[in-house]
Symmetry: C2
Subunit: 203 residues, 2 copies
DNA sequence: GTCTATATGGCGATAGAC
DNA sequence: GTCTATCGCCATATAGAC
């Protein structure tokens, strides 16, 4: 059952806007395209959301919040550092596999308007320091002797995000633009990154 | 001596366009801003380059080509795999430190218009497979027993690029938006990534 | 070659009929 | 609430004086 079939006009607009904004960005998106995608007239978007800026902010806030909450869950779980990291990789890979445009979208929009960050973190109730400090404390006492957890987390996310955002380039130079082979590359990558991380923290 | 002081009008336009395009992207850039940055009138840009698209392509082709050539040099050098990788990290860190906006710029523009890639690789004379195959061959016989060199290179670039492109977010949540501390974080990161890579390939 | 002034088109936003 | 028609602005691009 397609959820959008029975949804209200406002929900249809929101879903369409989400798709268009995420793939084209705030500047690249067109209100006309969102209207087409939602199967209605352009004027209706303004009737419900008054401006493109408003519509964008509604979409971006939700995406940003959900994405960061998801990151927190694995790191806040009750487990050893090693287990946490493996769980984190599992969940993060699934997250970006099913939302491949989101990481680049968030990075681009934050860089375009960095002032969004402060208000966004405040409004969304995200407390990243809580997550990171907790990770810090556990890590220091345990297996991670000489590794700064910040560097480790940055490395893991970078290893996972880069092949997604740079997909067109890598798919071209590695696999002669073969989409299926690249999907396989991404699939096997989860275990490979896990092994790399294990080597890093266990050495 | 500022090179732009004595350069021709066309060179001034090119340099200004490079700065604006790299930081704002093709869609975000404005011809007026490029003209202001070059210290001249908007009409002159069209006199020399005819269209925004033309000017952009001239800039993008150069940046793309130079960036990928630079990557190749380290991996094509005569050395062991380990030495190659360390040299590659050294050069790549320096490259993106002095061109922090370029990686995101390239990724964005390629994703916006993936068809650019084929013609670009052809025109620029880049042969990435040569580089990668060479790396493959050396790697297989040597220390990298169970590691796919493709995954390793993707991991390294991801580890290095991510803290640059996601800087506003990471600087905020890690260091309360302290710019100096984040610069230090980036500086120490070169050696940290080297150590991580060594653990990965030596385990 | 370099400027000012203007044409042209696209997009966000609004007015107003239904 | 939903549509058609249109306004007004801004950005690329061009015309034409100097």
């Amino acid at each position: 059952m397609d959820k959008t079939l029975n949804s209200s006009t406002e929900e249809k607009i929101y879903e369409a806007a989400r798709r268009v904004f995420v793939s084209k960005g705030m500047e690249g998106a067109r209100m006309q395209e969102i209207a087409d995608e939602a199967g209605m007239n352009k004027a209706l978007l303004h009737y419900y959301y008054r401006s493109k800026e408003n519509l964008f902010k509604a979409v971006f806030k939700d995406i940003f919040t959900k994405f960061f909450r998801k990151i927190g869950t694995a790191l806040l779980s009750e487990a050893t550092v090693k287990e946490k990291l493996m769980l984190f990789i599992d969940e993060y890979v699934d997250l970006i596999q099913s939302n491949p445009y989101v990481p680049q979208f968030i990075i681009n929009e934050i860089n375009r308007d960095p002032l969004m960050l402060k208000s966004l973190m405040f409004e969304s109730g995200i407390e990243p320091q809580k997550i990171l400090f907790m990770f810090d404390k556990q890590a220091n006492g345990e297996t991670l002797k000489k590794i700064d957890p910040r560097h480790l987390v940055v490395s893991i996310i970078g290893m996972l995000v880069f092949p997604i955002v740079a997909r067109p380039i890598l798919q071209m130079i590695y696999f002669n633009d073969d989409q299926d082979v690249y999907n396989q590359f991404l699939t096997e990558r989860k275990e490979i990154v896990k092994n790399m991380v294990l080597k890093i923290i266990e050495a």
